[in-house]
Amino acid sequence: MAGILQSLEIARKALWASRTGLDVTSNNIANVNTPGYSRQRVELVPSTPVNLGFGPVGTGVLAKKITRARISLIDNNIREAKSENGFHQARETVLKQLDGILNEPGENGLSFIIQDFFSEWSNVANQPEDASARQVLLQKGIRLSNAFKDTTNRLYSMKQGIELQLRTDLEEVNHILHNIADLNRRIVSTEVGGSQANNLRDERDLLLDKLSSFGKVQAVEDSRGSVNVTLEGVTVVSGTDYQKLNYRIVGETGEEKKLEIYLEQSGKSFRVSGGKMGGYLNQFNELLPDLQSRLDLMASTIIKETNRIHEKSYGLPQGNPPVASTGISFFSGGNAATIAVNQQIIQDINKIAVSVSGEPGDAEAAYAISNIVNQKLFGNHTQTIGEFYQSVITNLGFEIKKSESTLFQSELVINQLENQRDAVSGVNLDEEMINLTRFQRAFEAASRVVKTVDEMMQTIINMKA
């Protein structure tokens, strides 16, 4: 039979195990709101029994290890959902801005302004000799040009905004990659001794979650506990090394400028299709240039068609003997960025040519110009300019709506998955309160054992032989 001190030793171990349990529980409670924290559990095992002649006698309890509750399968699903969510978030942000810029439907929108401009020619036709009607037409021409230019400028500054956003995003991505590589090193060196790097792993998982909102991420853990990360299929973290990312603008002069992302070390570019970065690239490289080219087509058609009639018509005869100007174009410029009312017309509204014959009351040219809106000049002669623009913005409306609902859906999916993950890893305060009580009671009982053993020792010491 072991000595009485063995009983005291068992009680000590029990006190220590209960205290460890209490610490782990209070740590869980403290981290209830910490993002990425996985709840921890202490694994208690009985310590090796001593075999006495009549059988093994237990030697108490051991806190073997502290584990975190985590299922990595859900992590992968969450990362996929986050990358999709990031993509639509970026898209929605840009599209919503567009919605604000285009001012449709309303009297400040391009579709109203175009119609209004061509209508005004009809007003001039009613009184071609009247300076006030010509003045109004001039103002509406300027308004039309400005509307095209403003929209173009805003699209341009949106692109600049996207570029800026991408730069900030890449800084964050590089920072994350750096930290993941660093955590790989620390996790491997911690776990090589057999202990668990619970907090470091939580931190790394959280970083991978964050990274996946920027692009499609795959993380594979090797046997030593370090993860290799690919972003859009390109290896960006391998063990303790990581690849720094950067962006550049490519495209010859005159060509559409495109954004691309490349590895700083090798200079190799790669396609990013998911996450926020994928969303921004998609808007910068595809949606905005596409919209711009449609605006350009509209502006150039308006310029070409108006000028074609205007140049062969006559202005209001001036001077003595009266001479009517001809051969003057109404618009200068060639696309949505350069469209403007011809300077000669701004200086002299009598040069607005509405007369085919040269006579002051003749307004045949004005009718021809006001009729441009009724001609099917777009979409292979199937659409008028109004119909063309309407189809452009209606499509945009659908895109925005689609983005909104996809975003909503993907948020639901993420919520659902995060709930699943939380079901395993999350902290439930009521549960922790119960654990707290559980360990408290165990501690109380163990102290009672100490007291009892102490009394027994007193008894022995005080025995009088």
Partner: protein, 297 residues
């Protein structure tokens, strides 16, 4: 399934957010009176809304054009009516003068006719907003001038231009002016007739006076015919403009139906959503009270 503190709070938060978002949207609809404020609000309705607005805008322009033409035509009709009444007066003078008048009286008739010649000239040179209405497209130069010896009226160098036309509908450009040539010169020259009559009275030439009377009759009819052509067009345009107005009212109703918020419906929505939010809030408050902590003392 384990439900953790965080997933509970997240759920509550997501529900409250969603309720507040839809509540906010309804509030915006009510405050602005519009259902469609942005492209994304109702892309399916956007296309037809824009099309309706486009049509309304076009019709309004046609209405404006028609109004201009109608103003012009009423000036023309006034002028032609006045011309016709001049000729009627001259006719009755002539009938009086054919017989039983002394040479002196005939001379005074000749003077009166000379005055009417001036008035007729004014009629033929009528202006509307500073433009000569009978001059076709040569609106800025006076079409008719009386020679210095007052013996002939000629069309000035720029004379009478081409027809005036107005856009009164899509692909519908209509000629609307009354040409001075047709009204006053073709089928008998009004001015020549008046001059000849004046001369006949001066000379006391009985035969010439009665010939002039017949001529006058023809001219009178010719001017009345021009006036009635203008009147017919005026009537037609009046009908057309009423048609456009009716069409626009209908279109505006359509557009309003698509675009404007139905306050009754929105108010109901508001109430429904407020109830939803209240429910979410009360569930949140009740859930948050439940904790083991309340019972561990």
């Amino acid at each position: 399934m384990r439900v953790t503190s965080n997933s509970y709070y997240n759920l509550i938060l997501a529900n409250i957010n969603r309720n507040q978002a839809s509540l906010n949207e309804t509030r915006m609809h009510i405050a602005s009176g519009k259902k469609i404020q942005f492209l994304s609000d109702a892309p399916t309705k956007l296309g037809s809304l824009l099309k309706h607005k486009d049509l309304i805008q076009k019709n309004e322009q046609y209405l404006q054009n028609i109004k201009h033409v109608m103003d012009y035509l009423s000036v023309v009709m006034d002028a032609l009516d006045h011309g016709a009444s001049i000729l009627a007066t001259v006719k009755s003078l002539t009938v009086q003068g054919i017989d039983s008048l002394s040479q002196d009286e005939k001379k005074s008739f000749a003077e009166q006719i000379d005055n009417y010649l001036n008035e007729m000239l004014d009629v033929a040179n009528t202006t509307f907003k500073g433009k000569y209405v009978f001059a076709g497209t040569s609106t800025t130069s006076q079409p008719f001038t009386l020679s210095g010896d007052r013996n002939s009226v000629s069309i000035t160098a720029n004379g009478i231009g081409n027809a005036l036309r107005a856009e009164i509908g899509q692909f519908q450009v209509e000629k609307y002016n009354v040409n001075g040539q047709e009204a006053f010169l073709d089928g008998g020259n009004v001015f020549d007739t008046l001059i000849q009559l004046r001369e006949a009275f001066r000379a006391g030439d009985q035969a010439a006076i009665s010939m002039g009377l017949g001529q006058l009759e023809e001219e009178h009819n010719q001017i009345l015919a021009s006036a009635s052509r203008a009147g017919a067009l005026l009537n037609r345009l009046d009908l057309l403009s009423q048609q456009y107005e009716v069409e626009n009212t209908t279109l505006q109703e359509f557009a309003s139906h698509l675009e404007d918020a139905d306050l009754y419906e929105e108010a109901l929505n508001l109430q429904k959503q407020e109830m939803g939010l209240q429910a979410a809030l009360s569930v949140a408050a009740r859930g948050m009270e439940l904790s083991l902590l309340n019972y561990l003392r």
